[in-house]
C-alpha cells in the first residue's frame, strides 16, 4: 500500500500572519486613508476635495511639538468618520471632549490602557506585544503615547511597525518633545508649534482659539510643507487660517457660556 504524502505549507507560511497580509492586488485608492480637509494642502492635495486621501496605509506618523496631542487627534478625525476604527493606547490623559469636538467618531474609538505598565521587564513586554499586535488586526489607526513607545524594546517596535505595514494600518505616535525620542523611523512627521492663543487677556475673556503652525516633512518628501491652522478654533475644531482674516480679525459670534 502506497503511503499518502501530505504536502503542507511550512509553518511560517501557514500561520495567521500570511492570511492577514494585504492581498497583492490593491488599488491605489485602497492603500490610502483620508485626512481632514484642512490638512490636505500639507500633503500637497487640493483643499477643495471633501475627503482627501493622503495617509498611506502602513506608514508611521509622528506628531511632535507643543500642540502634538491636538494634532494627533486631528489625524484621527477623517479615518474614524469614514468607518475605520481607532485605538488609543497608553494615553489616559487624552482629552475625550476635545476629540469629540474635533470630530473624532467616538463610537469607533477604543481606549486601551498602557499594556507595558510602564516597565521594560520581559514578561510585560511579551504581553504588550501580543496585545498590540492583536489590536493592529482590528483597528486601522493606532495612536501610541510616547510613554508606551519608550517602554517597548527596539525589536518589539520594529515588529509592531512591520505588523502595521502588513495589516495596512497607520501608526500615529504622539510626542510632546521637539523630535521623536525613539528608534522608530517615522514616514511622516507633523510638527505642530503653538503660535498664539487668542481670547484671553490679563484677567478677562476665555481661551477661544489657537493659531498653530503645522509643518510636514518625512521620507521621500522633497521639501517641508507648512500651513497655519486654528487648532482648535472657537468651536474646538480644526480650520484653516484665512490670509485676509489674519490682519482684519474675525468676528466670533457671542454665545451663551452658562
Amino acid at each position: 500500500m502506497s503511503s499518502v504524502r501530505v504536502s503542507s505549507l511550512s509553518p511560517s507560511l501557514s500561520g495567521p500572519l500570511s492570511e492577514m497580509t494585504l492581498s497583492e492586488m490593491t488599488l491605489a485608492r485602497e492603500r490610502l486613508l483620508p485626512v481632514h480637509q484642512t490638512l490636505a494642502p500639507l500633503f500637497g492635495l487640493n483643499a477643495d476635495d471633501p475627503t482627501p486621501l493622503a495617509l498611506t496605509r502602513g506608514h508611521t506618523v509622528a506628531c511632535v511639538g507643543s500642540a502634538a496631542m491636538s494634532c494627533a487627534l486631528a489625524v484621527l478625525v477623517a479615518p474614524t468618520r469614514a468607518g475605520s476604527w481607532a485605538g488609543v493606547v497608553g494615553l489616559p490623559s487624552c482629552g475625550v471632549q476635545a476629540a469629540a469636538d474635533l470630530g473624532v467618531a467616538l463610537e469607533r474609538t477604543v481606549f486601551v490602557a498602557d499594556p507595558t505598565g510602564g516597565s521594560r521587564t520581559s514578561g510585560q513586554q511579551g504581553d504588550a506585544a501580543a496585545a498590540l499586535s492583536a489590536l493592529v488586526d482590528g483597528v486601522d489607526v493606532l495612536l501610541l503615547g510616547q510613554r508606551v513607545v519608550s517602554s517597548l524594546s527596539t525589536s518589539l517596535l520594529r515588529r509592531l511597525q512591520t505588523r502595521v505595514q502588513s495589516r495596512g494600518g497607520v501608526l500615529v505616535i504622539v510626542s510632546e518633545a521637539k523630535s521623536l525620542v525613539s528608534s522608530l523611523s517615522a514616514d511622516v512627521r507633523l510638527t505642530a508649534t503653538t503660535q498664539q492663543w487668542q481670547g484671553v487677556d490679563l484677567g478677562y475673556g476665555h481661551l477661544q482659539r489657537r493659531q498653530v503652525l503645522l509643518q510636514l516633512d518625512g521620507r521621500r518628501r522633497a521639501r517641508t510643507t507648512e500651513q497655519q491652522v486654528w487648532l482648535p478654533d472657537h468651536q474646538g475644531q480644526l480650520s484653516p487660517v484665512e490670509k485676509a482674516a489674519e490682519n482684519t480679525g474675525v468676528v466670533i459670534p457671542l454665545r451663551h457660556v452658562g
Binding site: W85, G87, G95, Q97, A98, P115, A134, D137, P232, G258
Partner: protein
C-alpha cells in the same frame, strides 16, 4: 375562517424583577424600604413601587429620576443576576410542570391543560403556582422575607387565559391587583377581556413596532376591540400580511407567527462528555462550540431561533431542562448567554448536581426567517466593525476587561467628568451593532449640555490630568495668589512655578468658582483659571484650579 382554539396558558409575571433580584442577591446593600431603580444605558429600566410613588418611571433619564426622588438608590443592571435569582422560582414550578417557557427573567409561561386537570382546575392551579413560586424563592433565600421582596419587585402576578397574549395581559393586571386572575375559557370571554386594552400593549407583549401602533392610533383604532371588530379582509387590504396577525392578536385567537417552521429533528445539538465536567467555565466553553455551530447554521439560512430548549444532565442522572424565548431571535452569542444563565443557576443554585455534567443538549424549537441586521453596504454595520470587535475582544482577553474602554457622554463641569470611560466588555458582548447603539456619545441636544451651568466653553483641553499637577502661582512680589470666599483674586498672577522652573504668565482669565456637591461628602469648592504661559518654544495654555490655597494644573490645552 374557523377560529383556531389557542392553547390555554398561565403566565407568572413580576413587573420589576431586576429590583427583586438585586435585593435577593445583595440583601445587605439593598432594602425593600428603599426606593430602588435599575438603570441601563442611562435610563430607568425598572423601578420599585416605592420609587414609582415618588414619580420615577421606566424610560426616564437618570437625572430626571434623581430629580423626582433624590434619595433614589441606583441598582446596577446585571442580566446574569436577574436570570440566576429567577432560577429557584423556575425550578420550584418545574416540580409541577415539566416544560416551562421562560420569556425573560421575571416572566414565564406554561401550558395549563395537564397541570390544571392534575390540581383540580385553573383557580387551584393559579394558587398552587403562587405558593410554589414563593416557596422556591424562600427556600433559596433563607432568612429573607420573600413576600416583601416580591412586593418590591412589583408583586407576583398569575394569569390564566386562552393564548399567550391574553395570559400575559391578565398576569400584568394580576400583579397590580395582588391576586391571581383567571379568564374563563372560550373565544367570547377572551375577546371581551382583550377588547378594552389600548393598542399600545401590542408593543410590550407582542413585539409590534411602535410605528405600527402609532399608525393604528392615528387611524382611530385605539383599543384592541376596535381592531377585532374589523374584518380580516379589510385589515389585510390596508396593512398587508401583518393585518392578519393584528386581527389574530387583537381577537385573542392565536399568536403563533405563521412563519414559524418546525425545525428538522437533526438540529438538536448535543455533546456528551467522557470526563464529567463540574466547572462552569469549561461547560460554557463546550457549550460555545454547540451554539456557534447552531448560530452558523441559522446564519447560512438567514434564520434566527426564537425559542430554544437547553438540557443538561449529570452523571447521577439529575437534569436541568429549560425553554428560553426571545422575540428578537437568538444567534450564537445570545444563545450562549441563555445556556450560561441556566447552567450557572443549576450548578451554583440550591440543588446543584451531585456529580459532573455528562450531557449538554441544545434544541431549537421555533425558528423564523431573520428580518434583522445585515452587513451594511452604505452605513450600518460593516466588516470593519466586526473585525475591530473581534480584535478588541482578543485584547480584552490578554489585558483584562478593565483595560479596554470606550467613552460615554455623562456631562459635567470639569473636563475630567464630561466623558465617562466604560469598559468595552460591558457593552460589546451583545450581538447587536457597534459600540454606538448602547452608549450616549455626545449630548442629545444643546439643552442637555446647557444643563451644566459653569462648564467651560469650547475649545476643550486636549490633555486632561486625572491626577492634577501641583504648582505654585505667584504675583509680582512672589506671594502665592489666593482666591477669597467671595471669589476675588488677591493679586494679579504673574508667575507659574513648576518643578523649580518659573514661567511668565502672559494672559490669564478667571477665577470661575465651582461649588459642587455641597450636600454630600464629595463636596468640592474651587476656583478655576485659564493660564497662558510663555515657554521658549511658544505659548502654553493650562486649566488651573485653586482649592484650599493650593494650585493644581488639571488640564492642558496641548
Amino acid at each position: 375562517m374557523a377560529a383556531i382554539q389557542p392553547p390555554r396558558c398561565a403566565v407568572l409575571h413580576t413587573p420589576a424583577w431586576p429590583i427583586a433580584a438585586a435585593i435577593l442577591h445583595e440583601p445587605e446593600t439593598f432594602h425593600v424600604a428603599q426606593p430602588l431603580a435599575v438603570f441601563h444605558a442611562q435610563r430607568v429600566l425598572s423601578c420599585s413601587p416605592l420609587a414609582w410613588r415618588e414619580g420615577v418611571r421606566p424610560g426616564q433619564r437618570r437625572r430626571q429620576a434623581q430629580g423626582a426622588c433624590p434619595h433614589l438608590v441606583i441598582v446596577p443592571f446585571n442580566a446574569d443576576r436577574d436570570a440566576r435569582m429567577y432560577e429557584p422560582l423556575v425550578q420550584s414550578i418545574g416540580t409541577l410542570v415539566p416544560l416551562i417557557d421562560v420569556e425573560n427573567p421575571g416572566s414565564l409561561l406554561l401550558a395549563t391543560r395537564g397541570p390544571s386537570r392534575y390540581v383540580g382546575g385553573d383557580d387551584a392551579l393559579a394558587v398552587r403556582l403562587l405558593t410554589l413560586a414563593s416557596e422556591g424563592l424562600s427556600h433559596a433565600n433563607q432568612g429573607l422575607n420573600v413576600d416583601e421582596v416580591i412586593a418590591a419587585g412589583g408583586g407576583l402576578g398569575v394569569g390564566i387565559a386562552d393564548g399567550r397574549i391574553a395570559a400575559t395581559l391578565v398576569a400584568r393586571s394580576s400583579s397590580r391587583r395582588g391576586e391571581p386572575v383567571v379568564i374563563q375559557p372560550g373565544h367570547e370571554a377572551t375577546a371581551t377581556f382583550l377588547a378594552p386594552y389600548a393598542v399600545k400593549v401590542l408593543t410590550a407583549v407582542a413585539g409590534c413596532s411602535p410605528d405600527l401602533v402609532d399608525l393604528l392610533e392615528r387611524l382611530g383604532l385605539r383599543q384592541l376591540g376596535d381592531i377585532a371588530r374589523l374584518s380580516v379582509t379589510d385589515l389585510v387590504g390596508r396593512f398587508g400580511a401583518i393585518g392578519e396577525t393584528l386581527h389574530r392578536l387583537a381577537s385573542g385567537t392565536d399568536d403563533t407567527p405563521p412563519s414559524t417552521i418546525p425545525p428538522p429533528p437533526d438540529l438538536t445539538m448535543s455533546r456528551v462528555f467522557d470526563d464529567p465536567l463540574l466547572q462552569l467555565d469549561m461547560l460554557v466553553f463546550a457549550a460555545k462550540a454547540l451554539t456557534d455551530e447552531l448560530g452558523a447554521y441559522f446564519h447560512e439560512r438567514g434564520q434566527v431561533c426564537t425559542r430554544v430548549q437547553v438540557e443538561a444532565e449529570s452523571e447521577h442522572g439529575e437534569s436541568s431542562q429549560r425553554v428560553w424565548y426571545r422575540a428578537e431571535g437568538m444567534r450564537s452569542a445570545t444563545l450562549l448567554d441563555r445556556v450560561r444563565w441556566q447552567l450557572d443557576g443549576w450548578i451554583n443554585g440550591t440543588e446543584p448536581p451531585t456529580a459532573g455534567v455528562t450531557l449538554l443538549r441544545v434544541t431549537p424549537i421555533d425558528i423564523r426567517s431573520d428580518a434583522g441586521t445585515q452587513v451594511g453596504f452604505w452605513g450600518g454595520r460593516s466588516e470593519a466593525d466586526d473585525n475591530a470587535t473581534r480584535a478588541i475582544t482578543r485584547v480584552i482577553g490578554l489585558l483584562g476587561p478593565q483595560s479596554v474602554t470606550v467613552a460615554s457622554w455623562r456631562g459635567g463641569r470639569d473636563p475630567r467628568e464630561v466623558y465617562e470611560m466604560v469598559c468595552f466588555a460591558d457593552i460589546g458582548s451583545a450581538d447587536s451593532g457597534g459600540v454606538g447603539q448602547q452608549l450616549v456619545l455626545r449630548p442629545d441636544d444643546d439643552a442637555d449640555a446647557a444643563e451644566w451651568p459653569g462648564s467651560l466653553p469650547a475649545p476643550a483641553p486636549a490633555v486632561v490630568h486625572h491626577d492634577p499637577l501641583l504648582v505654585e502661582v505667584t504675583d509680582v512680589h512672589g506671594r502665592v495668589v489666593a482666591v477669597n470666599g467671595r471669589g476675588l483674586v488677591s493679586a494679579t498672577p504673574t508667575t507659574l512655578l513648576q518643578h523649580g522652573q518659573s514661567y511668565r504668565i502672559v494672559a490669564w482669565a478667571g477665577p470661575w468658582p465651582v461649588d459642587e456637591r455641597w450636600w454630600d461628602q464629595r463636596a468640592r469648592r474651587a476656583a478655576r483659571f485659564q493660564l497662558v504661559i510663555e515657554q521658549p518654544d511658544g505659548q502654553c495654555a493650562y486649566l488651573a484650579e485653586v482649592a484650599a490655597g493650593q494650585w493644581w494644573l488639571t488640564a492642558e490645552y496641548a
